[in-house]
């Protein structure tokens, strides 16, 4: 049971180990299946998929149109789909409108394009406050929007997951898709940040 590595006081670890051993005995879930699921999500390919979608939309107007019309279908064109991606709606940022995504009830999130949500996305504070005072929450997260920019908050549900299509950064006219994708951050696709400038993308902060 080396997967757990818990001290004697860790109730949650013990509980999880107990449940896993019962499920294995009942023939419902084998450890290798759990390993496979965890590997898939721990590798953290999520935001990279979303970045490819955004970069394609920035360079291909017809693709962008399809993406805004039917997100799930257009995302599947790039080979991305699966659990929590059954109905993805893409909302576009403009100079007049900024979109931000939340799940007020739990933590719904478009796994196929963004991976698993960061811990702040799941926190009670973000989930309750971003609806009430989005401008203040975004400012606290480092995104100061001009007062004239309208903020739209999208609450995810079991039916719909949202992905923000951020604005293409200035000065990226000559860049190709791969270079553009490197500018797209996870936070910009949730709507709590902006894409990086190309110079920042070349020297990314190792912690971001």
């Amino acid at each position: 049971m080396s997967e757990y590595d818990h001290g004697p006081s860790d109730r949650h670890a013990l509980r999880a180990e107990a449940l896993e051993s019962l499920l294995r005995e009942k023939g419902l879930v084998q450890p290798e299946m759990i390993d496979a699921v965890v590997r898939q999500y721990e590798q953290d390919i999520g935001p990279m998929n979303g970045a490819q979608v955004v970069a394609r939309a920035w360079t291909d107007p017809a693709y962008k149109q399809r993406l805004l019309h039917d997100g799930t279908e257009a995302i599947a064109e790039l080979g991305f789909g699966g659990p929590q991606g059954e109905h993805i709606v893409v909302v576009e940022n403009t100079s007049a409108v900024h979109n931000v995504v939340v799940c007020t009830l739990c933590s719904c999130y478009p796994w196929p394009v963004l991976g698993l949500p960061p811990s702040w996305y799941k926190s009670p504070a973000y989930r309750s406050r971003v609806v009430r005072e989005p401008r203040a929450v975004l400012a606290e997260m480092g995104l100061a929007l001009k007062p004239e920019v309208e903020i739209r908050v999208w609450d995810s549900s079991s039916e719909v997951r949202y992905l923000v299509l951020p604005q293409r950064p200035a000065g990226t006219e000559g860049l190709g898709e791969a270079e553009l994708a490197a500018c797209v951050t996870r936070d910009s696709m949730i709507g709590v940040g902006q894409p990086m400038s190309p110079s920042a993308a070349e020297h990314p902060d190792p912690d971001v």
Partner: protein, 119 residues
């Protein structure tokens, strides 16, 4: 389906953002619990929406009991997830609470260093 694929460098300046800026799971039990849930759903043991409803109810219950002024440090998302999974499996008759507690006590009674002996 488009045939156009973008190829990426894995490292280097053009590498797309791979990291979420944090560990996806803070402890092994969190990733095991997440993995069990997805695997059970893939096996057809429950619909994802059934789990989601349990998770929503569990989070709401916690927030009701702890109020909005509760320090973030006391909040554990995967603890709520774990409770939701246990509730759902009990309701489905897959694994009862008593059965789980018995196994938990058995595991807790193992001598120290059991991991190394049993491996």
């Amino acid at each position: 389906m488009s045939e156009r694929k973008v190829s990426f460098e894995v490292g280097g300046p053009l590498a797309p953002p791979r990291k979420n800026g944090e560990l996806v799971f803070a402890a092994p039990w969190e990733s095991r619990t997440f993995g069990m849930t997805v695997a059970l759903h893939q096996q057809g043991v429950f619909e994802w929406d059934e789990f989601r409803d349990c998770l929503i109810a569990e989070i709401a219950r916690w927030e009701r009991e702890h109020g909005s002024g509760c320090p973030e440090a006391e909040w554990s998302y995967y603890a709520r997830w774990q409770a939701a999974l246990e509730t759902l499996l009990a309701r489905k008759g897959v694994c009862g609470t008593t059965e789980l507690e018995v196994r938990e006590n058995d595991l807790a009674a193992r001598p120290p260093g059991h991991d190394h002996i049993r491996r």
